[in-house]
Every structure is written in structure tokens, then in C-alpha cells.
């Protein structure tokens, strides 16, 4: 059982998701690049 995060911790943790989702879009882009270029 993990204790609930404080508001500040929540902001940090959930904003990390925004960050990784942006880069995951970049990852999808590289798949497209792979499929079209190599």
C-alpha cells in the first residue's frame, strides 16, 4: 500500500507522463521513418 502523494509530488509525477508521451510520439515518428527509409 503506497501512501498518497502530496500535491507537489503529484505535479512532478504526472508532468513526467506528459514528457514521456511527447517523446513516445517522437518514437512513433521514428517507426514511420524506419518503415519509409530503410
Amino acid at each position: 500500500m503506497i501512501k498518497p502523494m502530496t500535491p507537489v509530488q503529484k505535479v512532478i509525477a504526472y508532468s513526467s507522463l506528459v514528457f514521456i508521451l511527447f517523446w513516445m510520439v517522437f518514437g512513433v515518428f521514428t517507426i514511420w521513418l524506419y518503415l519509409t527509409e530503410f
Binding site: I2, M5, Q9, I12, L17, F26, G27
Partner: protein
């Protein structure tokens, strides 16, 4: 909880290394005896601080991860528009960065920073290992070096996920997945540094390689640099980030890379052998766990009497 032979051996080694007193040994044994056999029951009910309870990574490892992580993403972001500079999408990226020549300079500077992180890491683990060997505290199982146990753990974990086993295997500080990822990253780093340096210093590589190999080598490096980069980016974006951000139990973020600490829950689930060492090394942890077991009626006796949640 009755420990497996493997876990008992790890515990005995840890107690020997730490010169644990007889009184502490008895305390550790009684804590372990109180733990319920069902590890799932244990890790789902122990109280954890979301940002971590138990030590895992030193400040050096955290700095190295941070350096690698920042330089890696920026290298990917600047490297793609260099490799595909004539593509429609590369032109605006290069323009924002100041033209492809500037992108190249940024890319090489970041590469130097990434190599620094790699050297820093090698120095840290080499010195750390030497010190541990001198103090007779080095444990192979606790290190990142793959052993046959990892193959067994992998098999047992697959069986658990397929519903053929009740418990996940008792894994060590680094589980099979982390060892695989670590050595993949090490291999990738070497490929990227060698191939990248062959673009920057072709004469150097031509001078040390036999003439018959040198020209093929350049061709191979031209191919491997972008391929390895795309592979690495996909591994990070879809595997590593799943494991540390999106996986159940880790969502929305595992804090270890910032705080250097792992949650008690995660340690017991995936790194149980390391948790046993924590019980030896951190006396407060023994007391905390005993209090938690008593408060939540999780001790082995309560479980057997059917009182556990």
C-alpha cells in the same frame, strides 16, 4: 515465512559480511518468521512512501542517469535531422536549431557529455568494486553481472505471468530485465561512440585498421549509427518508460532516479533478496516491518488463523 535455500544463503552471507551480532541475528530471524508465506499479501499491504523507503542508488549513479538521459534525448532530437537533413520535416528542425552546421556542433557537444557520463560510470563501478573487494563485501549476486539465476528467474516470472506459479521469483537487487537493459545500453553506447568517432576522425580509424577493412568499416559505421539510434530510442520510449512510468505499481512515476530510494512494496515484490539485505543492514526497517505486520494482522500466525485481510 520459510525462506528458500537461495534466500537463506543470501541472508547468511549478508549477516557474515556485516558482522551481525547474535542478538540482531535472532531479531532478523524472528522478523522473517513473522512474515507471511504469501509475498503478494506482504507487499500489497506494507506501507510505502511513494518517493521511496529503502536505499538503492548512490548520488553518482543518479547523476550519471540524469546526464545520460538528458544527452540521449537531445542527441536523438539533433541526430535525426542531421541523418535525414534533406527531408521536409528535418528542414524546420534544423532551422530552429540554427542550421544543420549548428545542429552538428550541438550533437557533438552532447556526445562529449554522454561519453563523460560513460567514463564517470566506469570509474564509479570500478572503484566501487575495488573498495568492496578490499573490504570483502563484494557479492556477485548483488551486482549487475548476469548469472544462471537470471535465466531461472526469467522462466519463473513468465510462468507467474502465465498463471502457472503463485509467486514471482525471489529476485536480487538487479533483476534479469534490468541486467539485459543495462548491457543493451552499454553495447549501444559503444556502437554509437565508435561509429560516431569514425565520422569525426576517419583518418584515425583508417590508420589503426588494416587497409582491407578500413573502407568497409566506414560503410558499416554509416549504417549502424542511425540504426542503433532508432533502436535505442524505441527501447527507451516503449520499454524503459513502460517499466518505470506506466506499469501497474509504478504509475505515474518511479522516483528512484531522483531520490535514489525504492519503495518497500516494490523492493519486496521484485527484489526480495535485496530486501532481506536491507533487514540486515537497516535495524529500523526490522522494527518498522514488525509494527506493520502487527498493525495489519499480517504476521504468519494471523494469516494461518485466517485473520489477514
Amino acid at each position: 515465512m520459510k525462506l528458500s535455500n537461495e534466500a537463506r544463503a543470501v541472508l547468511e552471507t549478508s549477516m557474515r559480511i556485516n558482522n551481525t551480532s547474535e542478538k540482531d541475528r535472532q531479531e532478523i530471524d524472528s522478523v522473517i518468521a513473522s512474515m507471511p508465506d504469501d509475498r503478494v499479501l506482504l507487499y500489497k499491504n506494507v506501507v510505502s512512501n511513494p518517493i521511496g523507503d529503502l536505499p538503492r542508488y548512490s548520488i553518482h549513479i543518479r547523476i550519471q542517469h540524469m546526464l545520460t538521459f538528458v544527452t540521449f534525448l537531445m542527441l536523438a532530437f539533433t541526430g535525426l535531422p542531421i541523418a535525414f537533413f534533406d527531408h521536409f520535416w528535418a528542414t524546420p528542425v534544423n532551422m530552429v536549431l540554427g542550421g544543420v552546421d549548428v545542429t552538428r556542433i550541438i550533437h557533438r557537444t552532447l556526445a562529449a557529455a554522454m561519453i563523460f557520463a560513460m567514463v564517470y560510470h566506469l570509474v564509479t563501478i570500478t572503484l566501487g568494486t575495488i573498495v568492496k573487494l578490499q573490504q570483502r563485501r563484494f557479492e556477485l549476486l548483488r551486482s549487475i553481472i548476469p548469472t544462471m539465476k537470471d535465466a531461472r528467474d526469467f522462466r519463473d516470472d513468465l510462468l507467474y505471468f502465465a498463471g502457472k506459479r503463485d509467486q514471482r521469483p525471489e529476485m536480487d537487487k538487479f533483476m534479469y530485465k534490468q541486467k539485459l537493459h543495462y548491457f543493451a545500453a552499454a553495447f549501444g553506447n559503444i556502437v554509437m561512440v565508435v561509429s560516431g568517432s569514425s565520422f569525426l576522425f576517419p583518418e584515425f580509424w583508417a590508420s589503426i585498421l588494416p587497409v582491407s577493412v578500413a573502407s568497409y568499416f566506414q560503410e558499416m559505421m554509416r549504417l549502424s549509427h542511425p540504426h542503433e539510434a532508432l533502436l535505442a530510442l524505441l527501447v527507451i520510449a516503449f520499454w524503459h518508460w513502460y517499466n518505470v512510468h506506466l506499469a501497474p505499481g509504478r504509475f505515474p512515476m518511479q522516483w528512484t532516479f531522483l531520490t535514489g530510494k525504492i519503495t518497500r512494496e516494490h523492493q519486496i515484490e521484485e527484489h526480495f533478496l535485496e530486501y532481506l539485505r536491507c533487514l540486515v543492514e537497516i535495524p529500523e526497517e526490522r522494527k518498522l516491518l514488525m509494527d506493520m505486520l502487527a498493525a495489519r494482522e499480517l504476521d504468519q500466525q494471523a494469516v494461518q488463523e485466517g485473520n489477514a485481510p
